[in-house]
């Protein structure tokens, strides 16, 4: 249990009951999506403090500023880089590399989506790739559905591969001290394998039927991808900063440099390079635009959640739950890791994986003593990361990126419906989780 000053009775309830009830209500409200998730988590955090479960000082201690800093820094960098047009260039270039063959385009867009998701974040990636996909499928007179479906899968699988690819990984990395390279060496190989395995059902269901008129293919080949880059200077600055940040992620861990510091330094440097040639007024305009590009809903959602979970943790509920889980798994590390993998995958299919992982992190930390120290928990962390990231593929509400793609599909007049998507996506996700469980078992036990 955390060392925080706590009220003895809150509205006639013990802190355990109050925090537990508030936690369950918050979860239910997040799942129902009746109210914006940032509002729900901020309200829960405020109630946690106002009720006396946490003091304000304790609540601030509960916020993981490494996660917040990393997310914010990367959002600024990607927001500025996007304006150079490089992401459109990559998507068009990849389509032309396969001579605009419909199946080839699907595979290439999947690869580009996966790589960008690993290096940036899922939501930004699909925001950049989906419009180009719709343009290409519209030109080829093909249904966009298989392409968008494949991109959802690729975004979530690609995001699994690195520390910065998906918010659950950012949170796990921050809470455990596992670095960029740890994620890369442990999760990238299996993510790449799962990505290639996922192509098979997509080919069987849609790929073999994808055909386009040669005249329309020629139209795609006439796209001049080089024209998509409309600011070469900005592109050079952005690539320079992105490279520095990646180096910071890769080597910084050994020198005690947190990912958030690398990302925030990169954001500040890119803002400087972008603003320096301009006058005061233009600088204000550019900085305002960059700061507006930050997804503040996500950031405030995180802050509120961290406080809520910290409050719940402070009452000892998660410690008790950890003992319950260990009781169920017989205290066996292998069974615990595989169980967490499957449970987190199914849970992430149903609810947002961010609150789920935020809750699981302190719960798993409480298992350290039973397994012989924090270092022994590593396979369990990889199980949590694999389950919560891949679980996002299980349904349309499993990840924010899925909903973004569904929004594009809707606006293009080719909606992706919840049930038909899940009928194909959930079995595919379960296959990826089974492969992951085998990987975890063979590699770590």
């Amino acid at each position: 249990m955390l060392d925080v000053h706590q009220a003895d009775v809150i509205f006639g309830l013990s802190p355990v009951w109050f925090a537990g009830t508030l936690f369950v209500i918050t979860y239910v409200l997040i799942v129902t999506e009746r109210l914006n998730r940032a509002i729900i988590s901020m309200m829960a955090a405020a109630l946690m403090i106002m009720s006396g479960v946490l003091t304000q000082q304790a609540a601030v201690k509960g916020v993981d500023f490494n996660t917040i800093g990393l997310l914010t820094g990367m959002m600024i960098i990607v927001g500025i880089t996007r304006d150079s047009g490089v992401f459109q260039y990559l998507a068009i270039r990849s389509a032309k590399m396969v001579k605009a063959d419909p199946w080839g385009i699907l595979v290439m867009l999947m690869m580009v989506t996966a790589v960008l998701s690993a290096l940036l974040d899922n939501v930004t990636t699909v925001l950049l790739i989906a419009p180009v996909t719709l343009l290409i499928t519209d030109t080829l007179k093909l249904s966009a559905y298989p392409y968008l479906f494949a991109e959802i899968f690729a975004a979530n699988i690609g995001g699994t591969a690195t520390l910065i690819g998906d918010p659950p990984n950012i949170m796990i990395g921050s809470a455990t001290g596992l670095g960029y390279n740890d994620f890369l060496f442990n999760l990238a190989p299996i993510s790449i394998f799962i990505l290639f395995v996922s192509i098979i059902p997509i080919y069987v269901i849609w790929g073999r039927k994808l055909k386009a008129d040669p005249k329309l293919i020629q139209k795609v080949m006439l796209y001049r991808e080089i024209d998509a880059i409309h600011d070469w200077v900005l592109l050079k600055k952005s690539l320079f900063v992105l490279t520095l940040v990646m180096i910071g992620f890769i080597v910084g861990h050994d020198y005690g440099l947190q990912p958030a510091t690398a990302a925030m330094f990169g954001a500040a440097l890119l803002l400087t390079l972008n603003c320096l040639p301009h006058g005061q007024e233009k600088q204000t305009e550019l900085v305002t635009k960059s700061l507006n590009d930050i997804e503040w809903i996500t950031i405030f959602f995180f802050i509120g959640l961290f406080i809520l979970v910290y409050g719940v943790e402070s009452t000892g509920i998660l410690e008790a739950l950890a003992h319950q889980v260990l009781g169920l798994t017989g205290g066996d590390k292998t069974v615990t890791a595989i169980s967490i993998l499957f449970v987190s995958a199914v849970a992430s299919t149903i609810v947002d994986n961010i609150p789920f992982v935020a809750t699981m992190i302190p719960l798993i930390k409480n298992m350290a003593v039973s397994f012989g120290g924090a270092a022994q928990l590593e396979p369990i962390w990889w199980s949590l990361a694999l389950g919560s990231c891949l679980g996002g593929n299980g349904s349309l509400v499993g990840a924010s990126a899925n909903l973004i793609v569904a929004g594009f599909a809707e606006r293009s007049g080719q909606p992706i419906h919840f049930l038909p998507f899940m009928l194909i996506a959930f079995p595919m996700m379960m296959v990826s989780v089974m492969i992951s469980s085998l990987y975890v078992y063979l590699r770590y036990f």
Binding site: G85, V132, T139, A228
Partner: protein, 156 residues
């Protein structure tokens, strides 16, 4: 002064069932920028204009929310644009008219009406308060002429 005093009370209108092709030909022939769409009871439904036409011939991925911001890599011919137009030409204009254009009431004060006109950058419909009946249209030309003639000397 209010909107009803500066509007054209007998505007040319289109019907929602008119095809995109016929409506397009009509506005091109008469060099209209946009026209109001009304039903048989003269209930205002929306605006059809050159913007609707452009929207039909430019790829969908551009106009959707969060769509492509930069399309400089697409190089198309007039034939390509016509092909896109041909796919929708027989659809009714109700499918592509703009029904989010601001309207004003007949008693909307003149300055407020001018502000709406400035922000809309196209003719604005005057719609009866409490109903949907189209009473008239206010264009830049109507307002411009009236302002120029206000001093009694058109060449002033």
């Amino acid at each position: 002064m209010n909107a009803s005093e500066v509007m054209d009370p007998h505007p040319t209108t289109l019907k929602p069932t008119d095809s995109i092709k016929s409506a397009a030909k009509y506005i091109m022939k008469n060099r209209y920028r946009s026209l109001p769409v009304v039903d048989d009871d003269f209930c205002y439904l929306g605006i059809f204009g050159v913007n609707c036409l452009l929207k039909q011939v430019i790829p969908k991925a551009v106009f959707m929310r969060q769509g492509l911001e930069n399309v400089s890599f697409i190089h198309e011919s007039l034939e390509d644009l016509f092909q896109r137009f041909a796919e929708v030409k027989d659809q009714p204009i109700s499918d592509c008219m703009n029904n989010t254009v601001h309207t004003v009431a007949p008693d909307t004060p003149l300055t407020e009406t001018l502000l709406q006109l400035y922000e809309t950058r196209a003719s604005i419909p005057v719609v009866e308060s409490g109903s949907c009946k189209l009473l008239g249209m206010i264009s830049y030309w109507d307002i411009g002429n009236k302002i120029l003639h206000a001093g009694g000397q058109p060449d002033a």
